[in-house]
């Protein structure tokens, strides 16, 4: 039952894609690709819900041998636990809604069928990633979603910015993926398998075999696998691709770059949870925390509505990472779910706004004569230019024009800002904060409190910039009257998904997460007792307890997770009541502050954003330039390029013209040019040199043949004498 349901879930979108692909090869089009894809997703959605009942406490993976070698077998299979099911539902649900939304949003695009085909392929890949029981399968899905992301970001590939962005996305994430692959190699070398679950799986073996001596390499392996997540979930320092990825159509941004694919990194990290060591957890927590804060600060000063959301996404993903790094497995995944819904909603809402503006923009903007009707104008890679229909400075007062969009987006904003009790975002975020604080309290050194402070500040800033977005877009007076007049509410195909997502932003529908038996964190057998004694029930009494049994740890951890929440009757919970209470109170306060300041700045206008910006110019610049990440990558590049162009003067300027940003370019220009020249000059040159010398010697030998017979005779005589002399000596 499980296998067939999962198979249906996977095959539906795959079939939708395959039909398109086959027809495409024959240069024909399937007339109703949009319906086909959407129905396929809806079927998958239904099946996902059906799977809810199939979850059992200790599931076994369902596998087949994928590659069997003499000694080793790589299997492919499904693993269905509560997390899988929830992820399946999230993916299929958001995907279905995005499909429906796109039927309105993408209407009229010449590559309309292809768009849906890509969406289908993406859905398949994402679902495959989610259900895989082994690292190889996850990696396969991982790369495939990367491909779809590439294809969809570059969907309007006539735009150079889109073409650049899609390449950047693929390459940047691939850097992370390589790290992940190396991590996989390390695990494989140790365990001879890449399966995670079941007997002989990595987790079982790790629990049974690993000792303290293995912690070093296991930490390295963990961090390396996390590298994959850094790339895919746009964590620092590989986050720069995600804002650029907003070149893709907005539904894509909602589905891939907000709700699902970028969350895959979090999902992966959560999946690897049982083998995360103390060190790797810390690395994850800090990377996540710093990303959360940095991205949030950048978001404050953006004017492009999609980029604000993009940085918000990065920030929230950092949050999730922080949660998992801090050991709050459930909180991280909970936030992943809630975030998927409200962030998808925000993106779709912004899409609705853009769509509203777009028709006008297109009608009036004659200077952009491009091959494609969806040309959004030239935006520079660094984002200095913003397409007018995405620029919040052109918006304002839209709440009357687009009431549904406004209300749904407001709900999402309240949710993300952590407005207490009635919005899902509050609960998940609160749970993270509680987890981080709890962890910080138990960590031996004080400085890990910094994680909590980071998390808290990020929460406040999030509330601030999200309300800034709402105020600038929907409140106040229209700043661009002409555009405002043209704006209109979106069609039903677009508003219905908004409404559905808005409903999903309330905690009622996320009840699964409040059932502590439904989602349990897996055990982390090799997190050594001394550091984690706080997890054990005894630890509250201050005991740095003895080593725990596997079972004990898991029980205790589960208790801590749920207990930390404190809103449910929980008999196992005595834990960090104080931590939780503090966290909740503080989170409400910072959210309130954030909203309040936002209101002051952008609605009441008692405070001027401009004057603050002027006062804190350096900081403002730092935010505005996105901490100079792109500039750093570019700057290093340019400096080296100048050096290179002097060194390899003849290597033409076309390479320089083709400069995109990113470290990839540095290597491309410098190393590749050098290697290319090396190949031509040195290796080939050496060979040619040998040939030349041979030839030259041939010429010399030839010159002895003077044509004068007496010379020849002299050679004979000399030859005889020489031979005699040589052999006389021997």
């Amino acid at each position: 039952m499980v296998v067939s349901l999962i198979s249906i879930i996977l095959l539906c979108p795959l079939a939708a894609f395959a039909i398109f692909g086959l027809l495409g090869l024959a240069n024909r089009r399937f007339p109703r690709q949009d319906y086909l894809s959407t129905i396929a997703m809806l079927v998958a959605l239904v099946c996902s819900f059906l799977l809810l009942r199939e979850v059992v406490p200790n599931p076994e993976p369902h596998t087949v041998n994928w590659i069997s070698l003499g000694g080793v077998t790589f299997s492919m299979g499904f693993y269905l636990d509560s997390v899988t099911v929830i992820m399946l539902i999230v993916v299929t649900l958001v995907s279905s809604l995005v499909h429906i939304f796109s039927m309105g949003y993408m209407h009229g695009d010449p590559r309309y069928p292809r768009f849906f085909a890509y969406l289908s392929l993406f859905s398949f890949s994402m679902l495959f990633l989610v259900v895989s029981d082994n690292l190889l399968g996850i990696y396969i899905g991982w790369e495939l979603v990367g491909l779809c992301s590439y294809l969809l970001i570059g969907f309007w590939f006539e735009k150079d910015s889109a073409a650049n962005a899609c390449k950047k996305a693929f390459l940047t994430t691939r850097v992370g993926d390589v790290g992940m692959f190396i991590g996989m190699m390390m695990l494989f070398t140790k365990f001879d398998t890449l399966s995670l679950y079941g007997e002989g799986g990595i987790f079982a073996q790790a629990a049974a075999q690993l000792s303290t001596a293995d912690m070093v390499w296991l930490s390295i392996a963990g961090v390396l696998i996390f590298c994959g997540a850094i790339g895919k979930s746009a964590q620092m320092p590989l986050h720069t691709w995600l804002p650029d990825a907003m070149e893709g159509p907005t539904p894509v941004s909602a589905l891939i770059h907000a709700a699902t694919m970028v969350a895959a990194g979090v999902y992966l990290t959560a999946r690897m949870f049982p083998i995360l060591t103390e060190t790797s957890s810390l690395v994850i927590a800090y990377v996540g925390g710093i990303t959360a804060l940095v991205a949030a600060t950048i978001a404050i000063v953006r004017f492009d509505i999609k980029r604000v959301l993009a940085y918000s996404t990065i920030s929230q993903l950092g949050y999730m990472m922080l949660a998992i790094g801090a050991g709050s497995y459930v909180a991280g995944l909970f936030h992943l779910t809630t975030h998927a819904f409200f962030k998808a909603l925000l993106f779709l809402g912004s899409g609705s706004v853009i769509h509203a503006f777009h028709a006008m923009h297109h009608a009036h903007d004659d200077e952009h004569e491009h091959a494609h009707e969806h040309e959004h104008g030239e935006e520079h890679i660094l984002g200095s230019e913003i397409p007018p229909d995405q620029d919040m400075r052109n918006m304002g007062g839209l709440r009357h024009k687009m009431p549904i969009t406004f209300i749904t987006m407001l709900i999402a904003t309240l949710s993300i800002s952590g407005v207490p009790f009635i919005f899902s975002g509050f609960w998940s975020k609160d749970k993270i904060l509680a987890g981080v604080l709890g962890r910080a309290m138990e960590w031996s050194s004080v400085h890990h409190y910094i994680l909590f402070i980071i998390a808290l500040s990020a929460a406040g800033i999030t509330a601030f910039y999200m309300f800034r977005l709402i105020f600038m877009t929907f409140f106040g007076e229209p700043r661009n009257q002409e555009m405002h007049d043209m704006a209109h509410e979106s069609p039903k195909s677009m508003t219905v998904p908004l409404i559905v997502l808005a409903i999903l932003s309330f905690p009622v529908v996320n009840t699964l997460w409040f059932n502590k038996d439904y989602v349990k964190p897996p055990p982390q057998p090799h997190l050594h007792a001394p550091q984690h004694a706080y997890l054990s029930p005894d630890s509250q009494t201050g005991g740095q307890g003895a080593a725990l049994s596997l079972f004990g740890v898991s029980e205790a951890f589960a208790a801590e997770e749920e207990g930390g929440h404190g809103t449910h009757a929980d008999d196992g919970h005595h834990g960090h009541g104080p931590a939780h209470t503090i966290a909740m109170v503080l989170s409400i306060i910072v959210a309130g502050l954030g909203i309040f300041f936002s209101w002051l700045f952008y609605h009441r206008r008692t405070l001027s954003a401009e004057s603050v910006a002027t006062t804190f110019r350096p900081i403002y610049n730092l935010f505005w330039h996105k901490y100079y990440f792109d500039e750093f990558y570019d700057g290093v590049l340019v400096a080296l390029t100048v050096w290179k162009s002097r060194l390899f003067a003849q290597f033409d300027g076309s390479v320089v013209d083709g400069i995109v940003n990113g470290v990839g370019t540095v290597t491309r220009d410098i190393l590749a040019a050098f290697v290319g020249i090396f190949d031509n000059r040195v290796v080939d040159g050496l060979v040619n040199r040998v040939a030349q010398v041979t030839w030259a010697v041939g010429g010399r030998v030839r010159r002895i043949q003077t044509g004068a017979i007496q010379t020849y005779l002299f050679v004979v005589l000399a030859g005889i004498v020489l031979l005699i002399l040589i052999f006389r000596a021997l």
Partner: protein, 496 residues
Amino acid sequence: MESLKNIESLLYFSPEILLVIFAVAVVLLDLVVKDRESVAVAYLSLVGCFCTFAAVLFTHFSFGDEGPVSLFLGMIQLDAFSSFFKVLLLLATAATILFSLRSEELDARLKGEYYALLLAITLGMFLMASSTNLLMIFISLETVSLTSYILAGFLTHSPRSSEAAFKYITYGAVASGTMLFGLSLLFGMAGTGDLAQISGRLTELLAAGEIAPLAVLIAITFVLAGVGYKIASVPFHMWSPDVYEGAPIPITAFLSVASKSAGFALFIRFFYAGFGSTELMQAVDWPFMLAIVSALTMTVGNLAALPQQNVKRLLAYSSIAHGGYLLMGGVLLTSQGIGAILFYLVVYLFMNLGAFYVVVLIANEVGSEMVEGYRGLSSRAPLVAWAMVIFLVSLAGIPPFAGFFGKWLLFTAVLEQGYYWLALVGLLNSVVSLYYYARIVKAMFLEDAGEETDSVSFSTGTFALLSVFVIPTIFIGFLNIFYTFSNISVSVMPMQ
């Protein structure tokens, strides 16, 4: 081994006698035939070749098969080895006669003497292959030399041909004079002209300390000058490019194949029968000397061939290089080495004569011996071009052609004796050689003919003759019989 007396020997000598008879007959026929365009003399000499061939087979299977027979009081010897060379030489002679028939370069009026001389030179080579006495060696060598001087200068109004003859005779006279001096020293030291006895005597005398090793070294080196000149090995090779370039093409072909084969026959017999004893080799390490000469020969030949523009000259250098490869086999003092030389000579006969035949054809039709003249031949005369490719590739030693198998045998023999350096030199040389062979191929296939694009047609006879060379070049390597044949021929050689 008891030597036969003069009269008894005559029956065993029938191939040579037949050659003489036909040479005279050709001259006589030439006097009778009035028609200057007649090909009768050529065909008569071909018949002569055929009869001689039959006689060679006859003598071999009637007498020589059972073991060596010494003739004319030990002057020459009839054995499998000499029969092998006789067959080989007859093939070359017959081919040369056919080439000459088709060569427009040769002057028709002088054909009688020409064919008579060819038969005479063959006679000389027969003797070279079978002589076992210093006197006979010298006489046969001079017979071959004198006739080949004349043949090289046969084009009366060509300065190149005269120059070739002049250089050839000057060089040849000095080289054979030097050799004769060496022979006289040998004779003086050993007190006998019989090769088999020389070996024994010299060994005894060396052991007794009656003669200085230096004297033997000088004698051997002087002899080497004469033999080296015949097989065109460095540093006695310098006549050959000039002579090959100046001589009529059929003669060049003949010299490069037959003269070289006969030279090797003489070389093998001389060194193995005369200097083959261990003591002698301790006194004078001639195998090592030959190894050096061999390495030098192939290297110089190949390197000098690289920049050549004249195909004949290029093939001349290539044939020098092949002399070097062949010499490798002589270094080894093993029957495999000699067998490899013999096999390679067979292969070399076909591929080299084939290549020269193409040169004849192209010279006739295109009027050029230069590499540029071969441009676009693939479209103008595709069959001839492909045949040339097969010959050249085989010369370069690339499978599956016979040249590869020949080299294979040589290198196997060399490696078996542990001469790794020599084998490596040889193999690297064969890589170099590919380069200049490929230049001709390149001209034929990869370059356009320019304005001359008419296709060139050849007669059926031409193709038939061409296929006589092409087919063995392709298949010899795959046939067991040739390996067996060459191995049997060697079995008579005294090996240490």
